[in-house]
Symmetry: C2
Amino acid sequence: MSEYTGYDGNSLEFLKKNQVVIGDSVKILADITYSGIIMPRYEHSDDKHIVLKLKSGYNIGLEITKIEKIEKNPTKEVIIEKDSKIEKNEKLPNILLLSTGGTIASKIDYRTGAVTPVLTAEELNSSVPELAKIANIEAKVLFSEYSENIVPEHWLKIAEEIKQYSKSDYSGIIIAHGTDTMHYTSSYLSFSLAGFPIPIALVGSQRSSDRASSDAALNLIGATKFLTECNTNGIYIVMHQDENDETIACHIGTRVRKNHTSKRGAFQTMGDDPAFLVVNNKIHNNMKTDYFSAQEFNPQIKINEKVALVKYHPGYEPSLLKNIIDSNYKAIIFEGTGLGHIGKNMYSIVKIAKEKGIFMGMTSQCIDGRVRMTVYESGRDLLNLGIIPLENMIPETALVKAMWVTGNTEKMDEIKEFMLDRIASEFSI
Amino acid sequence: MSEYTGYDGNSLEFLKKNQVVIGDSVKILADITYSGIIMPRYEHSDDKHIVLKLKSGYNIGLEITKIEKIEKNPTKEVIIEKDSKIEKNEKLPNILLLSTGGTIASKIDYRTGAVTPVLTAEELNSSVPELAKIANIEAKVLFSEYSENIVPEHWLKIAEEIKQYSKSDYSGIIIAHGTDTMHYTSSYLSFSLAGFPIPIALVGSQRSSDRASSDAALNLIGATKFLTECNTNGIYIVMHQDENDETIACHIGTRVRKNHTSKRGAFQTMGDDPAFLVVNNKIHNNMKTDYFSAQEFNPQIKINEKVALVKYHPGYEPSLLKNIIDSNYKAIIFEGTGLGHIGKNMYSIVKIAKEKGIFMGMTSQCIDGRVRMTVYESGRDLLNLGIIPLENMIPETALVKAMWVTGNTEKMDEIKEFMLDRIASEFSI
């Protein structure tokens, strides 16, 4: 991080002219007087604002043309010492934090104004001091990708890393991860690491830390609390329940979607309450069954990426499905309409897929609710064409599961069996 | 409808053996004694049950092996006279009902046990007698398709039909439609019939009428009430608000999705309350702006079907996008992740699409919330590659809009302009 990270054009000039840099404690006279720390910027939207972290912890953007005066405070606030070692507290549980990138991992800031490109345990503990009271956090950077750039190869890397810790002294593992594709990753880990003995929490943040009220710190605190006290295993996504800061929700990793582009409470368990809630530091357990059907940990870290997700809609051209078939896909997951339908204009191509031995599973673009293909003739036709109804599996989960299943076996009987075998709570019963 | 519609195998044999047919009023001794009317079946799940409509209006399925005795009641209940003419009440408003098929249109039954394959005004008024007290219903069968089989050609047919009634004496138009793709149809009508002077309600039912508690009648009553009293125009989807029967919700036709496979309250306005509610026969108005930006009705009933909806996910193979480009598509709507992202492995193919003059718009698979592509580098890269962020348009609405826009013009400047022109409340402001 440079002294001017994120600033350019007019705003950079403004900082230089006033001889202040990122991390400086300043007093600014504009419409009212503001005191705070100059923050780096990660939003590249304009060069007209500077970002100030107020004492309240909130960040605000101030338009430079409206600033009458800016002066450095004589006493500079303490910026965290990056190399300060945190003493391990033998009485506390140990948590492993694996960082994969995303907003949360690259820009943690909390109180101090410190921003680091990637997390180390020390930086994390310094920036979220509450964590050190709950657990000893050991951190490791796996890679650094925004989650829209995560590909199945990354899933394998995370799974291979975690596999090593099945007999460790960790109480749980946090994976810092971008939110965009977090529920795809949590699904893959759920299948490939089925039976993993300690709980795993994927944690992200919806607000980058140079915006007001980043949710990163509270999500991390909630996840740490959850992992050390939940007394179960499983792969969870741990994020704000809603827009207020009181409740952190722990969602079953195969039953959850990102259902809002920007809200802090963007993640929702489909068709049910979150498995656990952390409310005012208390854990509320709402789990109805064990997360994994298997008690024993027997990792199967394999994948076949030739699985297509086909969202059917009026006007969907059947030849697009034909292209997929001709591209040697091993499985197709349909996002059908309603109870699990696709138009009858698709039948002839579906028949070709069946003849080529491609697995076809049905989910619903309704996202919530169970597919049921025995109610209407359309559904029955599709059953006859060999399409397998996948209960109330979320389309994305079904896609990832099919990638995993077809990575483990090529036998159609086994594929069908595994797809409907409830391995990691991927459908409700 | 035959005397045994929907019955086969054991259940058919059972009816014949006991000399009873559909429409007979019977008393059945099983675990308890049931009185009711034998109903036709439209669920083809088994041959083990017969369906009985109880006096309460609810239907139950009775397992034939558990029936000890079945006897015809001496007085047969009155089955509606299909040819009885309803007198027009000059004091009441007139409503046009266009039937396109789906569960609602093919199997209306209510109180009487009458089931007809398609609706006529008389059958409708007889089967939902409350309607005649609210309005004079004139009905017309356009076609009869389950909505998974609706294709853009059907949209054109509906729009062309409705176009004729812009200067009629109807207070509103009901379109009976299957629920599966209802929100695609409502979107198309919203764009092609922008400014249409009277309100239009698409109405369906989630429960087929040979199942307990069909929602068809209440949805129709609610829609009729709404159309005659809302004092505005626009295209709405009118369905149960939730699982209870008290509230009927009227959703803006471009802001609504079917979000549950089977619940009666399956439809939801994304990111807002429904535009209107009908609660205990009272209309509650929650509209924030006019439905249409244009005041004048100037129908543009055109379409280009060569628009693809691409849902990006980890493992999405860029060559699938290349196939779409090579199939002469005119527009691509991305269902990106989060704020509107796709992986960087897609960039080179996106570039080809841009060079070929294909319109590319971005929506979010989060479904709720606005895309915002200036926050992260990924988004800015995609903007530079020519992808247009489509506000908080629902992916399906964006797809239909792009079909309509590219059906009306081939000029890229105009396509871009129209896609971001708020024509029918398709994004919120």
